[in-house]
Every structure is written in structure tokens, then in C-alpha cells.
Amino acid sequence: MKFRLYRYDSEAGGKPWMQEVDLDIDPAGKMLLDALIAIKAQDETLSLRRSCREGVCGSDAMNVNGRNRLACITPLSELKEPIEVRPLPGLPVIRDLVVDMEPFYKQYRSIRPWLVNDSPEPEVERLQTPEDRALLDGAWECILCACCTTACPSFWWNPETFVGPAGLLQAYRFIADTRDEATSARLDNLEDPYRLYRCRGIMNCVDACPKGLNPTEAIGRIRSLLVKRRV
């Protein structure tokens, strides 16, 4: 199979370049990550992140034929050749397919992603009905791979000020949690022309999410909560 891989090593100097690779591999039942590992076995200078190899840890997000995906759950058989593999867009490249995720993590931290509940703790669990718990579905499963945020033009233009779809989805996860007591502070934190309202409903995030989550919908819910509390 034919590949075109984005290559860049800041230490070696020079510009990024595209490496053409012809790999002898039977695509049946194999994922893109299998191919990249096979390529790395021949040329170990290719750098990428990977861990779980089953789509749950979020390490190997990259741009494949123009779309952000997790290499480990992208079947080779679905990809048109030459398969063009680039680092996630919109983040500084450290080397090859490895980007600096810090701008993404910083926005995640900015929404204060932890449950706040200052009421005395019961000796047992806090109760939550299955219906209330279901409000978290579609939000708590986020694996922080950054496929969505780095597919978002609003984030490309405002990485310092716009929280981005992944961060906003997590903000919603805590707003929606009936056990959390900081809803109003969380809404204050987002009521800002940039942090939330830079979302223009482009919906690239929904397309890009490898877990089938819908950040745009969560952002819509935060918006309506903000409207509701104003009236």
C-alpha cells in the first residue's frame, strides 16, 4: 500500500517534508496503526504516540486523508491510496506525527474539570437516578484525543481564548451532573464572547469524534442554559 507521511524533526532543522512509503501489507483486518508500526519497524525515525491500540486512550489521533482519526481504529481497507498521514492540524508539531497538546490540555483545565460538591459526604454513595445519570451519556466517554478541537476552525483562529469542543463537552459533563454544585460558576466561566460563543455551529467536531460524541449538541445545551438563567 502507498503512504504519504508528514515528517519533521526540529532538531535536524530544515522544513517539514512528505515521505512516500510503499509498504507490503495485507489490509484485511488491519488498522492504520498496524501499518505505521510496520513502517516504523523499517524506519525507526518515524515518531508517533500510541498506547492502548483499541481506541480508548486517545493517544494516536492524527489527520488521515484530510480527516482527524484515531489510527488504531481506522481500518486500512477504508482508506484511499496514497494514504496521507499528517499530525493533527492547529497545534505546534514537535516531531513527525507528534503535536504539542498543551494548548488543548490548557483549555480542558480551564473549565475546572472536576466535580464540586461541598455538602457533607454521606457514608454511602450520593444517590442519582438512572435518568439523571443518563444526562452524562455522550459526555463522560470523551477520551481527550483532540480530534474534534483540532478540526474546529474557531479553535484554529482562537486557541488561546476559545475553549473548543472537547473542553466545552467536558464543561457540560459537569454542568449536567446532578451531584455538582458549581453550575452557576461554571456558566459564569463560559459566558464570554470567546470561551463559548466562538462556536459557530460548523459541526466539524461531530464529524471528527471517533467515539461518536456530539460536542455541538452539548454546546447548544450550555447556550440555552445561559439564555434561561438570563430570563
Partner: protein
């Protein structure tokens, strides 16, 4: 030299490391977590089915029954004091996670959802219990993210994408920190700490068929071996019965807990003949052996007869979508099967290391010394899969692994806090403190012939062939011969990637060094244990031998020495559960 100073150092950002870190960060000590991946990429994230605690939310339950099941599940090799501690602390550890925000699935009355899991019983061996608390089938994800979030709130200092090289110890054996490598820049550094915790997880990448993440390379075990300390019970590796055939990704035991059954090529529910009472929910070692026998005797499914069927379609699409959404995804992607329509092809896959770094109840690393076989190594702790406390004995029960992380992570964090209270001042660093660790880096500056990746592939094949579900003296010796050759090949290997920036080839070389140590410890320990117990099945010694082997093995690198120490049969308050025949 770049040196950083903290009160406490945690190596590993999975569930165990993060739980311990939280305990320390909340008590005003400065704690650093070094992790070779961003913490939520740690392997805890892959845990599916749940965390076991006798909450009794669904059915009557008592922690004493959990104790009985865990001792029996571990084939009496587990230390009963540690098991009592685990089961007693379980409920509070789970409630605490819920208070931290873990999004558990819920029952109609608002309490935490629990499901039946393998090896669980009521009334000391009676009917099936329902004891495993779950967040759908992504409990590990929920747990790891929750603990990471709480550590962010507590302002734990994270060294993300730093690879730990070696422990730093002084002449009196005190652990004073560790050397590490910043993966992004290639800069080595020394992190000084008055207490160091290893929480580096498992080493399942030593086998070819494995459920483990690619990062599970036994880095903490390698560090301990190089420090001259022993590893305990390394012959005990759990082969999970239901990995996706040919791929190894896990299908949770929860699939059988929710009502799934295993079928052979004749459509027979074969577990009925191996475990008439518990059937598909017998101990994992029992089910894995049964599948291996079905396949070996020609009753496997598929064109090559190399797997069995896991049937869950009778649960219905709605239950699968609600309770098992993650395994539906995995099955669709990796087996091309919608489990609501057809059976999932499964075969045993290397899953969990019961052995590891010997510790006591407080997570203190212990080693034979002047005053006995279990002297604490001052300043050094270990928790989680890399540690052997030992609660899992010869075979871990499903749902007890996440529990181990939080119960002993919390206990170790507390003990480290006390240790820091009592040891206010750092001991002087020896002048050569960094040398061993930095020498590991220098070794890989050398160019050489063979590629590291091919040696790793061969190591995994060797361990799979010679040290899998069934073992004999001959296979293990053959494995050791091949390992000798692999080690000399690794000695001659070199890197073509000379960049300092995000050089993952170098990381893989350093990881392979650790895996080699794990492989040797496993083979030598497995050869020494001339009995079958739990997950360790010797075809040439098919019976359990309590007279000689109700003992832990201790492997040391120096001369491949094997020592043993007795199993702690006395619980903290309960009566000893005397060894019995283990039947499900």
C-alpha cells in the same frame, strides 16, 4: 545536572499512582507524578467491567464473602491479611470514588449499579453474588479520568511524557528518588524525593497475544531488578478467557456476567462440564484453560478451529447498548461482528500479572534482609499491577484489580505521608546518584546492527510459545535458551534514530530492556514452581502441592536466584481460611 526536588515522587500516572498522589497532594506535601504518557492514556483506561465491593446494592452481600472468594480465586496463594484489608476497605474506597464524581451506572433506586462477575459467591461458596460496581463497560476510563481530575484540583505536579530510568538509592539502601528522561526534549534529569512510589503497571507486552496496551512494559519491575531487589510470584500471569481472537483486545467478563455464554464448534455450552456450578463465571484461569483444551481437542470454531464463540445476542440490542456499549464497539471494529446479531470469536489473551514487586499492606517495598524475609526498603513503595502485596495470589478475580489500585493507592499515600512527617529532611544524595540511570541512556547512543523492534517481536513469540497457558520443564528450559540468545542480540542492537527530540525508538529500546528482565523472572520462577496452582499450569506437575509450594517465590537478577517465603495465612481479624480443593 538538572535536578528537581519534591517531598514525594510517584512513577506512573494510572489509577494506583493517581490515587496515592491525591492523598499526598491533599495533605500539602509537594508531589510529582512522572508518567511516560499523558496520565489518561495509562492502561487503567482500558479496564471495562468494574470494581468489586460488597455494597449489597442488588443482592445480600458481605465483605467476608468477598474475602472468601478472593482467597479461593487466588488458589490460596494470596496473603490473607492483605486480602482482608482489601475487602474491608472496598466499600469506602468505592464510595469515595463516587464522591469524587465517578459516573457510575445507577440502579432504579439511585444507588450504584452492580453486576455479577466470575468467582463471586454468597455465603462462602454458595449462589452467585452481584458485587462488581460499574460505569457501563468503561469503568476504568471513568475511574482514571475522575482521579486525574481530582489531582488537577489538588494541584499535583505532573511530569507528562517523562520516562523513568532508574531508582536512586544510597549506601544504606534508602530510596532517594529516580532518574528520568524528558521524552520531548531528550533531557535527562534527577528527581529527588524523600518517598518514591512505583505505580508503573503491568508488563503484558511480554506475550504475543495480549490484552495489554503497548506501554505495558514492566518499567518499574526493571528498575527494581536493577536495584538488586527481588520480584515475587512472577510465574503467575492471568490469561483472560475472552480476548478477541487473533487481536487480543479484551471482551469484559461483564459480558458473561450480564448473561453471555461460551460455545464450542458443536454449539455446546462447554463450561457446564468444566465448572458445573459456576459455569461461564468460574475463575478466569479455569475458563481460560477450558477454552485452551476445547481448541486443542479440535472443538474450536472457525476455519482453523482456533477460537470459541461468546454469545450475547440473546441479551437483546437494548441491554447491549446500555450495559456493554464499549465491547459492542470493539467487536464491530476488531472482529467485524455485531454482538447483538452474532457470536464474538474469542480466545485466551495474556491479561494481568499477579506477581510483581513485593510489598506489605502499606505499599512499602519489602525484601529479605537481616531481620527476616519482609524488611521494608526505606523510602520505596509500590502499588497496583506492578506490586505484589499479594491479594490476587495465583489468579486474580475480575473487578479486584481496580479495587487494588484505589485501596492500596490510598494506603500507600497515607503511609508515605507518615513517612514524610517522620523524615523531615532529605538524606544527602550520593555523588554517583544519577550514573546508573544516565548510563542506560548513553548505551543507546551507540550505533549497532540489529533493530530493537524485531528482538521485541521474537521475545513475545518466545514467551507465548514456551510460557503460555500450559507449561512444562522442557518448554520453560527451551524458553530460557531462546531468551539467552535474545539478550545477546539486544546487547549488540543499536538505534538509527539519533535525534533527542521525541525519540520513541530510544524509549522502545529502554522498554525492551525492562521486558527482558520480566521475561527472565517469569521463566525462572515458572521453572522453579513444580506444581499447578491458579494460572500457573505445569503439565508435568498437574496437582497443587501445598506441602512444598504454599509459598511465594522471590526471584533476584543476581545469578537468577530463586528464594521463597511463606504465604501469610493469618488474616487481620478473621479466622484463617484453610486451603481446600478449588472447585467452581
Amino acid at each position: 545536572m538538572n535536578t528537581r526536588r519534591f517531598d514525594a515522587l510517584i512513577v506512573g500516572g494510572g489509577g494506583a499512582g493517581l490515587r496515592a498522589a491525591l492523598e499526598l497532594a491533599r495533605s500539602d506535601y509537594k508531589v510529582a507524578v512522572v508518567s511516560k504518557v499523558f496520565p489518561t492514556r495509562s492502561h487503567t483506561v482500558s479496564a471495562q467491567g468494574g470494581i468489586t465491593a460488597a455494597l449489597g446494592n442488588v443482592d445480600d452481600d458481605r465483605w467476608e464473602w468477598h474475602f472468601y472468594d478472593t482467597v479461593k480465586g487466588g488458589d490460596w496463594l494470596g496473603d490473607q491479611d492483605a486480602i482482608e484489608f482489601l475487602c474491608r476497605e472496598a466499600a469506602s474506597a468505592v464510595y469515595e470514588l463516587e464522591h469524587m464524581g465517578l459516573p457510575f451506572s445507577r440502579l432504579g433506586n439511585g444507588r450504584i449499579y452492580q453486576r455479577p462477575f466470575g468467582g463471586q459467591s454468597k455465603n462462602f461458596g454458595g449462589e452467585q453474588a452481584t458485587r462488581t460496581c460499574a460505569a457501563a463497560d468503561r469503568t476504568g476510563h471513568a475511574l482514571l479520568h475522575t482521579l486525574y481530575q481530582q489531582n488537577l484540583a489538588a494541584r499535583t505536579q505532573f511530569f507528562d511524557e517523562y520516562f523513568a530510568l532508574d531508582l536512586v538509592r544510597d549506601a544504606e539502601g534508602y530510596c532517594l528518588g529516580a532518574t528520568a528522561l524528558a521524552i520531548e526534549t531528550g533531557e535527562p534529569l534527577l528527581i529527588e524525593a524523600r518517598a518514591t512510589l512505583l505505580a508503573t503497571g503491568g508488563a503484558g507486552r511480554v506475550f504475543r497475544n495480549s490484552s495489554n496496551a503497548m506501554i505495558n512494559t514492566g518499567d518499574g519491575l526493571g528498575m527494581v531488578l536493577r536495584a538488586g531487589l527481588p520480584l515475587q510470584d512472577m510465574e503467575f500471569w492471568q490469561f483472560h478467557p475472552t480476548g478477541i481472537a487473533g487481536v487480543g483486545c479484551l471482551i469484559t467478563e461483564g459480558a458473561r456476567g450480564e448473561g453471555g455464554v461460551l460455545l464450542n464448534r458443536n454449539g455446546e455450552r462447554f463450561m457446564e462440564s468444566y465448572a458445573p456450578h459456576a459455569k461461564d463465571l468460574a475463575g478466569r484461569d479455569v475458563v481460560a484453560r477450558a477454552i485452551a483444551i476445547e481448541i486443542a481437542e479440535g472443538r474450536g470454531c472457525g476455519p482453523h478451529g482456533d477460537y470459541v464463540d461468546l454469545k450475547i445476542d440473546h441479551l437483546g440490542a437494548a441491554t447491549i447498548a446500555e450495559r456493554l456499549p464499549g465491547i459492542r464497539d470493539l467487536s464491530l471494529r476488531f472482529a467485524g461482528v455485531d454482538p447483538a446479531q452474532a457470536a464474538i470469536p474469542v480466545a485466551p489473551t495474556a491479561h494481568y500479572m499477579m506477581g510483581g514487586i513485593p510489598t506489605n499492606l502499606h505499599g512499602q517495598v519489602v525484601a529479605p534482609a537481616r531481620f527476616g524475609p519482609e524488611e521494608p526498603v526505606p523510602g520505596l513503595y509500590a502499588v497496583g499491577e506492578c506490586a505484589c502485596v499479594s491479594v490476587h495470589g495465583a489468579n486474580r478475580l475480575g473487578g479486584n484489580s481496580l479495587l487494588d489500585l484505589v485501596v492500596f493507592g490510598r494506603a500507600a499515600g497515607r503511609h508515605m505521608r507518615d513517612h514524610l512527617d517522620e523524615n523531615s529532611y532529605a538524606r544527602p544524595l550520593p555523588r554517583d546518584a544519577h550514573e546508573a540511570g544516565f548510563a542506560r541512556l548513553a548505551r543507546w547512543e551507540r550505533a549497532g546492527g540489529e533493530r530493537v523492534a524485531s528482538i521485541h517481536d521474537d521475545l513475545r513469540r518466545t514467551m507465548q510459545t514456551h510460557c503460555g497457558v500450559f507449561r512444562t520443564d522442557a518448554t520453560l528450559r527451551a524458553g530460557l535458551c531462546e531468551l539467552d540468545q535474545l539478550e545477546s542480540r539486544l546487547g549488540r542492537a543499536g538505534l538509527t534514530d539519533t535525534s533527542r527530540v521525541f525519540n520513541t525508538a530510544r524509549i522502545e529500546a529502554l522498554e525492551l530492556e525492562n521486558l527482558m528482565g520480566v521475561a527472565r523472572a517469569t521463566l525462572v520462577s515458572a521453572l522453579a514452581r513444580t506444581e499447578s496452582r491458579g494460572a500457573h499450569t505445569r503439565e508435568d506437575f498437574p496437582a497443587r502441592d501445598d506441602e512444598h509450594w504454599l509459598r511465594h517465590t522471590l526471584y533476584s537478577r543476581e545469578g537468577d536466584a530463586i528464594d521463597t517465603k511463606p504465604v501469610r495465612l493469618k488474616p487481620l481479624t478473621l479466622d484463617t481460611l484453610k486451603p481446600q480443593a478449588r472447585v467452581y
